[in-house]
């Protein structure tokens, strides 16, 4: 249980800002439940065990306003029903955070639809399973030689069970086939629908005329297997989707508007109009492109340019949507509507990249495009051949239907999704979330890997790596001054050095330059070269000076910390035979330094988002990046990955999202994708091989309902068993433990 003990970092978390601390914002997002109570859903991405559930739920239950709190561990969410009369909703998020968990509120409107579709599929699956099982009971008796009267009775009972069951459980296929046929296309569901309906209709005809063979069991079993494949496929996509919406901390959902009479009101994003005066607290993101009116505002614009250095924004200058407010309360005037703001323009750029990318169809769809016409041709030829040659059109129809049943793509429909489900489960254990099966197919084809620098290879947070201090007094003063500033470099000093006991007066921060204070009559300054009176700076933003009355007392140098396992990951990728390159928007020198540190030989610096897109468009590149500036490249690349700490837009553009900051996820994905691809191919070969044996039997009229039942089930079982081989092999446990340690360290 040691994994769940709150640590220094999680305590720090409990003080973070965001709209979770804003009562009005939370009320706007909550759902009314009628009896005066409201419901909110929070994401808790780090919850993973029984004691996590317990500490979150008990933490919430102690609050007066909480009626019930329920953690859903599968979705990593907690649903809270509370009475706003009895306490502030902001206390809910605070309670979760003080239990030691990251949390953020979820937008209820973004959810909902997924569950109902899955329920419909599972219900259809249950009905098909019931029908298949019971009809099989009667079919086995018929096959083992029931006399004619009993056989007819059993056929009738089968018909009574099969007709409503097939009418209900077949709907997902019938609807999809109809949609495809209506626009003149064909998909896998067309042969399924034709096969099932014809087999059922023919069986009914046989039953009425007390014929020998009825295929009710085949229709029902077929639907059962096909629904199983479809449900699995859906489940996998759903899991990834819910995990990613959890992570998608969609930039701001709204902002506080200041009315002319000083009244404050929380407005949802889409209701913000140009000209409104907005107020932003520390830690909140700029909702729409706006003009700053407050003095000494400072923003983290890493979401825009990928670099973490904060930027001082003087009054009158514009800040882009998505920038994070690092200073205190800032007022601004909205200049654009949210759909015209930077975030929206990035989305448009990404859509263009998507459109330019050649549309690659999933392997199952490509198979279906070839499969359906072949199957239908064979069935028609069988019908005509038998009819013309023997003149027995009834028997000809029986044989044609047997062909349709035998070729119904049971194994084919399971062959691909089952492998993807197993692979997704394996990746999930390694801390990687996958968007859909197509991404896995593309990852297997990757022939090179491109990394972004800041935030991807590095943590994106400066670290003090070298300093020179004259005397212990200077060190203590440096910490005292650094404490007063929210600048990331100052925070790095506070993290690295020991605080001293020094009384400072007249603390003053000049955004973009540094901090100054008076100590015992001396003027101490901490900041840039210019600020400390050492002459013009060389623009070096990775160093900080400390001066006393214009005399240098200390220098500090910083570097962006490289992720711990970056070098290992690079080596593993190289071992997989993929060339690696580094694409960064940063200056040449730091890019070269990071490249050398992790062992990448090809590095390109000062790249604009467009340059990155142009670079990754060629061949089958896997792009790994995090910032908003990477999002178009993530979309344009053949396949892409983003860390879960990435900008929302980067995360939604990426095919895979990895948690826990482990770059080892990249070789894991490529390796798993390659194994999955080879198993998919094996499965397709197995399915085709099965058809190669069974179809001639069907054409020659040797497939009785018994043969059909055995052939269908055995081929399905074989592909499922083959897919499960993916789970065997190198255990993913060490990976998982590492991820957890990272998450809680």
């Amino acid at each position: 249980m040691s994994c769940c003990v709150p640590t220094a970092e999680t305590v720090e978390l409990s003080q973070q800002g965001g709209i979770e601390t804003d009562d009005e914002a939370l009320l706007t997002l909550s759902r009314k439940l009628g009896d005066g109570t409201r419901q909110l859903e929070f994401a808790v991405p780090d919850a993973h065990c029984a004691s996590c559930i317990r500490s979150i739920e008990t933490g919430l239950d102690t609050l007066r306003q909480v009626k019930s709190a329920r953690v859903n561990l599968s979705k990593r969410r907690v649903r809270v029903v509370f009475d706003p009369e009895l306490g502030h909703p902001a206390e809910l998020a605070r309670a979760i955070r003080s239990s030691g968990y990251h949390t953020y509120v979820l937008d209820p409107s973004a959810d909902e639809d997924g569950d109902t579709e899955l329920r419909e599929l599972v219900k259809a699956l249950a009905v098909a399973g019931f029908a298949a099982g019971n009809i099989m009971l009667f079919s086995v008796s018929v096959w083992s030689g029931a006399n004619e009267a009993t056989r007819d009775l059993f056929h009738w009972i089968s018909a009574i069970i099969a007709l409503p069951a097939i009418a209900y459980a077949g709907q997902p296929f019938f609807r999809s086939a109809w949609r495809a046929v209506r626009v003149g296309r064909t998909n896998m569901d067309v042969p399924i629908t034709i096969g099932v309906i014809l087999a059922t209709a023919l069986s009914l005809y046989e039953t009425v005329n007390s014929g020998r063979h009825a295929y009710f069991d085949a229709s029902a079993t077929l639907l059962f297997f096909l629904l199983a494949g479809r449900t699995l496929d859906y489940l996998m996509r759903e899991r990834a989707r819910s995990a990613i919406t959890n992570l998608a901390r969609i930039a701001p959902r709204g902002a506080t508007r200041v009315h002319e009479d000083g009244r404050r009101e929380y407005l949802p994003l889409r209701e913000i109009e140009p000209g409104m005066v907005l107020e932003l607290r520390a830690g909140e993101r700029v909702p729409v492109d706006s003009e700053v009116t407050s003095e000494s505002a400072s923003f983290d614009t890493s979401i825009v340019n990928g670099e973490s250095a904060p930027r001082a924004v003087p009054p009158g200058e514009e800040v882009m949507a998505g920038a994070n407010n690092l200073g205190g309360v800032v007022q601004m005037i909205a200049r654009k509507r949210s759909e015209d703001s930077l975030l929206a323009r990035m989305v448009a750029l990404m859509e263009a990249a998507e459109g330019a990318k050649t549309k690659r169809r999933r392997i199952a769809d490509r198979a279906a495009a070839v499969y359906a016409p072949i199957v239908h041709t064979i069935a028609i030829l069988t019908f005509l051949g038998w009819g013309v040659l023997t003149g027995d059109w009834h028997n000809a129809l029986l044989n044609a239907v047997a062909v349709l049943i035998i070729t119904c793509p049971c194994a084919l429909a399971l062959a691909v999704p089952i492998v993807h489900v197993v692979a997704a489960g394996k990746l999930f254990e390694g801390g990687v979330l996958m968007k859909d099966g197509a991404a896995l197919e593309r990852a297997a084809e990757a022939d090179s890997v491109a990394f972004d620098k800041t935030g991807t290879l590095t943590i994106g947070r400066p670290r003090l790596f070298d300093f020179h201090v004259e005397g212990s007094e200077a060190e203590a003063v440096a910490v005292a001054l650094a404490r007063a500033s929210t600048h990331p470099l100052s925070q790095a000093i506070v993290r690295a050095l020991h605080p001293g006991d020094i009384a400072v007066t007249g603390l003053r921060e000049q955004p973009g330059l540094g901090v100054e204070a008076m100590i015992d009559g001396a003027r101490w300054r901490l900041g840039s070269r210019t600020w400390c009176g050492l002459g013009e700076g060389d623009g070096d933003t990775t160093a900080v000076w400390l001066s006393c009355d214009g005399v240098v007392r200390a220098t500090f140098r910083f570097e962006d910390e490289v992720r711990a396992d970056a070098r290992d990951a690079v080596r593993q990728i190289a071992a997989l035979g993929l060339p690696i390159r580094l694409l960064s928007g940063d200056a040449a020198q730091p890019v070269a330094a990071v490249a050398a540190k992790v062992g990448i030989t090809t590095a390109r610096a000062r790249m604009l988002p467009e340059d990155k897109v142009a670079d990754v468009e060629h061949g089958h590149t896997m792009m790994v990046g995090d910032g908003i500036n990477d999002a178009p490249a993530l979309r344009a690349a053949h396949v892409s990955m983003a860390p879960s700490t990435a900008a929302d837009i980067g995360r939604s553009a990426a095919d895979f999202v990895f948690t826990g900051g482990q770059l080892g996820a990249v070789p894991l994905v490529i390796g798993t994708a390659r194994r999955a691809a080879s198993i998919v191919n094996q499965n397709l070969v197995l399915a085709i091989g099965y058809n190669a044996v069974a179809v001639p039997l069907a054409i020659s009229g040797h497939v009785t309902p018994l043969v059909a039942a055995i052939a269908m089930s055995s081929s399905s079982i074989i592909v499922v068993a083959n897919a499960l081989r993916l789970r065997i092999g190198r255990s993913s446990w060490p990976m998982r433990t590492q991820t957890l340690q990272e998450a809680h360290a």
């Binding site: 004691s51 559930i53 317990r54 019930s68 329920r70 561990l73 599968s74 979705k75 249950a126 009993t150």
Partner: protein, 60 residues
């Protein structure tokens, strides 16, 4: 034949009961959090059912 006339309805009836039970468990949300259910069993103090009266039952 008379045996069949009893056994067949019984067999189908049992099957229908099983189907109805499954559909009920699905509607009442017992499959919504399988991972959570498997972990909650380890927590000795939590004796609440997997879905409680406030949130259980068909979704609103």
């Amino acid at each position: 034949m008379s045996g069949l006339s009893i056994l067949i309805p019984v067999a189908i009836g049992l099957g229908l009961v099983a189907l109805a039970t499954f559909l009920w468990t699905l509607r009442s949300g017992q499959y919504d959090d399988l991972e959570g259910a498997s972990q909650r069993i380890l927590d000795e103090d939590s004796d609440r059912p997997a879905f409680d009266a406030h949130q259980g039952g068909p979704r609103r």
